[in-house]
């Protein structure tokens, strides 16, 4: 890393970035921090691919007629948008970037339990990604990311098997990441790092990993069955051959519902860390938040058929799943209350990570509350398969997960890169994202209740839907700008940003007790933990030997 000539620097310490140069030192690395950056590059790439598809979708929906792209093209656009965003951006995002980077640091370990498996995990992701890109470039898929049978098995000629295999391979990437985290958290905590002293970020990733491990294999086998059915003309899901299309849905959603918790739990972990740091307080109700994460993971496996209330399941099944869906909403609500209570009597700073956390709190709350609508059977009949659902899940996944991801990237950027990002631009970006997001997705709740179905490229029979669609598209452009900004200034900061100290935020957590960026083996000496998590009282205590005041600027 080059030095700025303006600020005189001491001799640069060896860290994980400058310890070795050259492409192969990166492509064959087993350092969890380098692997995290490899993931960062790859998922950012896929984020913009998926975002590009979203842009085209929203452009098409500016007018009621299907006049931008053909029907088949549009169907491929929303399918690829979903598949890329879910499997190649959201599922890996926080665990593969921030999790990989921080889990060993936070627990005081030198690396994850299986560093070579970690590298393999990235290569599997890349292989899956290349297969998906190839699939898209040679025609793509038009089934929707949910690839329901019998449409996907018997009624489309697009490249289902290839896309399925890409997801299968990427799924193993996810499984191995989860495996690594579970074993690492169980077996490699530093002396004194008891379960109750773990940062809640770790609890969140632990819960996420359980879901990744137990859920992903089921979608893997579902993909195998679909591929087998297509290739060998089996009849497992084909009614004409005695099969049942609903069985597909059960198998699919058994993974895909917990998958959404894979996407949100890590983000909740990030937000917890940020709120604690920028309120200068221990999280309110530490144990409740920790166990809520586990509860979400467990209950998350019990609610899958709430995606199928009108699919043809029995009334009694529907009742059970509706009830359980309310049960799974409860731990999330508890977390929101605990985060809010953490602010009470805190000392709150409005740095960019905290702005993202606030944004998360607002948007996740709205998204979660609209989940209550969807869990209500009588309402769901009306709004399922409409834009109401689209709005709901984007509030959680984008308003929740992506905000958390961006907040986390800002919070830990000094640790990862050794540089500070420009705070003014970061706050502006947070604001733009928040405004753009609401403008994009709030109108969609209304569209949904009015009856606009999903996956329609032409709504010329319902021109009354246009104005809300126009608002939504306008919001999407604003949102796009908001996402581009961090790309630009993070890159800028790597060369021109102010060098960061070990702990620019004066935050709690073992990761802040080592250099920014950390050395390859994380700590010069193995830490021994004798304090509780979130010891902000100690950190903020007036202390003659303390190094510097809070806040990096």
């Amino acid at each position: 890393m080059s030095m700025s000539a303006v600020i005189p620097q001491p001799v640069e310490r060896e860290n994980y970035l400058n310890t070795k140069y050259g492409v192969w030192s990166w492509l064959l690395t087993t350092d969890h921090k380098r692997i995290a950056l490899l993931y960062l590059l790859s998922i950012t790439f896929f984020f913009f691919i998926g975002g590009f598809f979203a842009l085209l979708i929203r452009l098409e929906l500016l007018t009621p007629a299907g006049d931008l792209v053909q029907a088949d093209t549009y169907n491929k656009l929303f399918t690829m948008h979903g598949m890329v965003m879910v499997f190649f951006f959201l599922i890996p995002s926080i665990p593969a970037v921030l999790g990989n980077f921080l889990v060993p640091l936070m627990i005081g370990a030198k690396d994850l339990a299986f560093p070579r498996v970690n590298l393999l995990s990235w290569y599997l992701y890349i292989i899956g990604g290349v297969m998906m890109m190839h699939c898209m470039l040679t025609g793509g898929v038009d089934t929707g990311w949910t690839f329901y049978a019998p449409f996907s098995t018997n009624f489309t000629n697009t490249k289902i098997v290839e896309a399925g295999l890409a997801i299968f391979v990427a799924g193993f990437s996810s499984i191995l990441t989860g495996l690594n985290f579970v074993v690492t958290i169980h077996r490699m905590r530093a002396p004194g790092m008891t379960w109750s002293r773990l940062p809640l970020f770790i609890w969140a990733h632990y819960a996420t990993s359980i879901i990744q491990l137990l859920g992903t294999p089921v979608v893997a086998v579902t993909i195998v069955l679909v591929a087998a059915e297509r290739a060998l003309h089996l009849g497992i899901f084909d009614p004409k051959l005695g099969g049942d299309p609903l069985l597909f849905q059960h198998l699919f959603w058994f993974y895909s519902h917990p998958a959404v918790y894979i996407m949100i739990l890590p983000s909740m972990g990030v937000v917890t860390e940020i709120i604690a740091c920028f309120s200068r307080k221990r999280i309110f109700g530490y144990h409740f938040v920790a166990f809520s994460s586990i509860a979400i993971a467990v209950f998350g496996f019990l609610v899958w058929a709430h995606h199928m209330f009108v699919a043809g399941i029995s009334v009694y099944s529907a009742l059970v799943f509706s009830f359980l869906s309310y049960a799974v909403a409860l731990p999330s609500a508890i977390k929101v209350f605990n985060w809010t209570a953490t602010l009470y009597k805190g000392s709150i700073h409005y740095d960019a990570p905290m702005l993202y956390a606030f944004g998360f709190l607002g948007l996740f709350t709205i998204g979660g509350l609209t989940g209550l609508f969807l869990s209500a059977l009588g309402i769901d009949v009306h709004v399922t398969d409409t834009y109401f659902v689209v709005a709901h899940f984007h509030y959680i996944m984008v308003g929740g997960a992506v905000m958390g991801y961006l907040g986390g990237m800002h919070f830990w950027w000094p640790k990862i890169s050794g540089r500070l990002y420009p705070e003014g631009w970061a706050r502006l970006a947070a604001l733009i994202v928040f405004i753009g997001f609401n403008l994009t997705f709030f109108p969609q709740f209304i569209l949904g209740y009015m009856g606009m179905p999903r996956r329609y490229y032409d709504y010329s029979h319902m021109p009354e839907f246009q104005i809300l669609n126009v608002l939504s598209t306008a919001g999407a452009t604003v949102l796009g700008v908001g996402y581009l900004l961090p790309m630009v200034y993070f890159l800028w900061s790597m060369r021109y940003g102010k060098p960061a100290s070990d702990n620019p935020w004066n935050a709690a957590g073992l990761e802040w007790k080592t250099a920014s960026p950390p050395p390859t083996f994380n700590f010069d000496e193995e830490p021994v933990v004798t304090w509780e998590a979130y010891n902000y009282e100690e950190l903020d205590a007036p202390h003659p030997q303390k190094e510097e005041v809070p806040v990096a600027r």
Binding site: R187, T216, P217, I236, G242, D244, F521
Partner: protein
Amino acid sequence: MPDSTLVGLQHEEEHHPELLHHFADAQQQRDASSLGMWVFLATEVMFFGGMFCAYLVYRRWYFGDFGAASKSIDATLGATNTAVLICSSLTVVLAVWAAQTARRTLLIGSLILTMLLGLAFLGIKGKEYKDKFEEHHVPGASFSFENVPIPGHPGEYANPRHAQIFFSLYFVMTGLHALHMIIGLGIFTWLLALAWKGRFTPEYHTPVEIGGLYWHFVDIVWIYLFPLLYLIDRHP
């Protein structure tokens, strides 16, 4: 920094060639490897679980047809395969014990025997698949299952479409199981190579243990597959 016996590396372990740098000590490495394999096996349970689920649903719906289809696959071959796999699990246990007690010859012999038994399993499976192919029980264009009586229901015949689902599941489930066996053979080849080079000692034989765990798991999956696929609705 308070002294902690957990932290200090024992001198001999510090130089143990098999200790990876990021572990504090050999015990931690062993524990991590072991937990890792158990967790991986949990994912495999879920993987096969999805298919068992599909099987159970259709078995309930098409009770008689599944019975008829099951009767048409060779339970003797299936039982032989079960015996073969159980024996191979025995040889795996022997291999682990041999590694633990520094019996290199027994270790190598047990590994080879395990692999031979695994190959035998695959061979018998191949014969079964061949039989099914010849009887036109492979799902697809040439599938045929006409006039096959439903066991216990004289005068009733199985619905070919429903029987075809049985065979679809049969091939997918045993096929994936066989794939896991082949991977197991690959793992054991690697173990054999390491054992030949003398890499395993009583202090370090983790790969043998976790390879053995994997093999036992593949065996257990078969223990479930066998009765569900071969032994339903068998009447004297």
